[in-house]
Amino acid sequence: MTDGVGPVLEASDGGRAVVEAIRADNTGVVVLDRGAYLRVLVPHRCILRRAAIERALGRPFAFPSDLELVMPAFQGNVTITDDEVVWAWSSSG
């Protein structure tokens, strides 16, 4: 995917909950299953909302610390607040 952005997640329950939350709030989501890890790619801009992941997990989830535990890498520039994480490029490729 040209200009895809998003996290690389460990293939664990926490990682899958992040994928589910990203699917809920983005369109055009592609998830590449590499066995030990899942690469999530969304065209141009990928948003992850705390509310969505807490719904998926059924427990509180803090940014960035709980995300850091399940995310060994990511593509794009990341912006993190208490409530959402956004991956995007600052220029068009």
Binding site: V8, E10, G35, L69, P72, A73, I80, D82, G93
Partner: protein, 490 residues
């Protein structure tokens, strides 16, 4: 009322003030803080995207440690490792020697940035980075050196960087320059930007995925856990690069070009060997080149465009070398395996078919090398290591210190340069260019061959291994099967 984190966090991370009794240049001299020297105003907008407080850092790291140690308790005993294929153990030995103590040098580099970097948010992020790198030193040291109890080659986990083995000389040459000799700006470009958002993903995520398929839960968990730290502190890179591009674009481009090439050669050896030769065929999901495509060509090249830089001028050379370089070095290392601390394998017919499918542009020219090696083993029979081994020391590149393996079996790309009455030889055009841009930095370095010529190391190979490299007969590399492959028997 409890304040939201976003409401107070900037107060804790932006702690720069105006100096009353000394000048800014006295607090942050250029030689320690890096070039170009810019007033703090130029750096004041420095923001780490991955914002972490120290309290959060400690809590998160404690959870990561608990997770890794739980896996180690469950499956990290020597008997758990003994059930692995001996090739996979060689991949572990290669990792164990080359990475952990390089991470310790990264602790030192980050501590320098934690003092001399130009904005307090950058310094704070570098301090957490230094603590990360200490963890990345200690975890693999404790997990992998422990295995020396049943396999002496794992002693090289600690010994490698303190030895004069040729691989150690090459690794020190690149790691010392990047982590110990670089100022915080060059460190941020070389380590945080090029190394950690590009290449370390190959070893720490890509190889972790292979460990998963091999069934090595300990190694998989450790690598992945380490890379979650890297993903956070790597974010120093793009932020520094953007300011550097705005004020001295040429220097930014030069540093990226230099470090991309240096890291490529290093990872071609460390990750390339592990993925295409030392991982048992049944567990290979992708080739080294495919992982390079995913993590470096797709991901890193896009990051480079995003900060406003070009692909290095040598990009076509680099793309071509993806099909050749690590194969050439592996074949050379196999025929000089007693000069390293891990065992190497001859790829059998199934592996050669896999390599041909993955490397259609190059394998037809590389395959005859292994045909000749297999023929030598057939002639000698199993156990006769020296019949399939080189005997005279080989030449090394005056920049990367690796064997002269640029190009193809038919066309070596080595270049000779005479300068100030001395002769230098380079494996490739980019290595020569990097050397010539900063000759004062590299000219005095002496590789193994120069040490031999200066009378500081013995010319006899066995003596060189024992007295200079520090390898004993039970430690030095052998054929992983002693030449006794089922497919070799007539």
């Amino acid at each position: 009322m409890k304040l939201a984190r976003d409401d107070w966090f900037d107060l804790a991370r932006k702690l720069d003030w105006t100096y009353g009794y000394v000048g800014e240049r006295d607090v942050f001299p250029e030689e320690a803080s890096g070039a170009p020297w810019l007033p703090h105003d130029a750096w004041a907008g420095w923001n780490e995207p991955f914002r972490t407080t120290y309290a959060e850092y400690v809590a998160t790291q404690a959870q990561k440690e608990a997770a890794v140690h739980a896996v180690r308790e469950a499956v990290g005993r020597p008997e758990d490792f003994q059930r692995h294929d001996r090739r996979w153990l060689s991949a572990l030995k290669l990792h164990a020697a080359t990475l952990p103590l390089a991470e310790f040098a990264a602790t030192i580099g980050n501590l320098r940035a934690a003092r001399f970097a130009r904005d307090s948010a950058w310094r704070g992020t570098a301090l957490l980075g230094a603590l990360d790198e200490l963890r990345h030193t200690q975890l693999p040291l404790v997990a992998l050196h422990d295995l020396v109890k049943w396999d002496r080659q794992f002693d090289w986990t600690h010994r490698f960087y303190h030895s004069n083995d040729w691989v150690a000389i090459a690794a020190r040459h690149v790691m010392d320059e990047m982590l110990l000799a670089a100022d915080p700006i060059e460190l941020a470009v070389a380590t945080n930007f090029v190394f950690e958002t590009g290449f370390t993903n190959l070893q720490f995520v890509g190889l972790s995925a292979m460990a998963h398929d091999v069934g090595d839960r300990m190694f998989e968990t450790m690598l992945k856990s380490i890379q979650t730290d890297e993903a956070r502190h790597a974010q120093i890179g793009p932020t520094v690069v953007r300011t550097l591009v705005a004020h001295d674009r040429a220097r930014a481009q030069r540093l990226v070009d230099k470090w991309f090439w240096r890291h490529w050669l290093l990872f071609a050896v460390v990750t390339g060997f592990a993925m295409d030769y030392l991982t048992p065929l049944a567990h290979r999901r992708s080739s080294f080149k495919e992982f390079m495509q995913e993590w470096v060509l797709d991901q890193f090249a896009r990051s480079l465009a995003d900060v406003g830089l070009e692909l290095p001028a040598y990009w076509p050379t680099f793309l071509e070398s993806l099909d050749w370089y690590h194969h050439m070095v592996y074949a050379s290392a196999y025929t000089y395996r007693a000069t390293v601390w891990f065992d190497l394998a001859v790829p059998g017919p199934d592996e050669r078919a896999w390599l041909r499918a993955k490397y259609p542009a190059s394998w037809d020219a590389l395959d005859p090398v292994w045909e000749r090696v297999a023929e030598r083993w057939r002639e000698s029979g199993p156990g006769v290591e020296w019949y399939t081994h080189g005997t005279t020391p080989v030449g090394f590149c005056s920049l990367c210190q690796l064997v002269l393996c640029g190009g193809t079996p038919a066309r070596n790309t080595a270049q000779v340069v005479d300068r100030d009455g001395r002769r230098y030889i380079f494996c490739s055009e980019p290595c020569r260019t990097i050397f010539e841009a900063e000759p004062e930095r590299y000219a005095e370095h002496r590789d193994v061959v120069k040490q031999i010529l200066a009378g500081e190391a013995p010319a006899n190979l066995l003596e060189l291994l024992r007295t200079h490299f520090g390898l004993t007969q039970d430690e030095w590399g052998k054929d992983v099967a002693g030449g006794d492959y089922p497919w070799l028997r007539r």
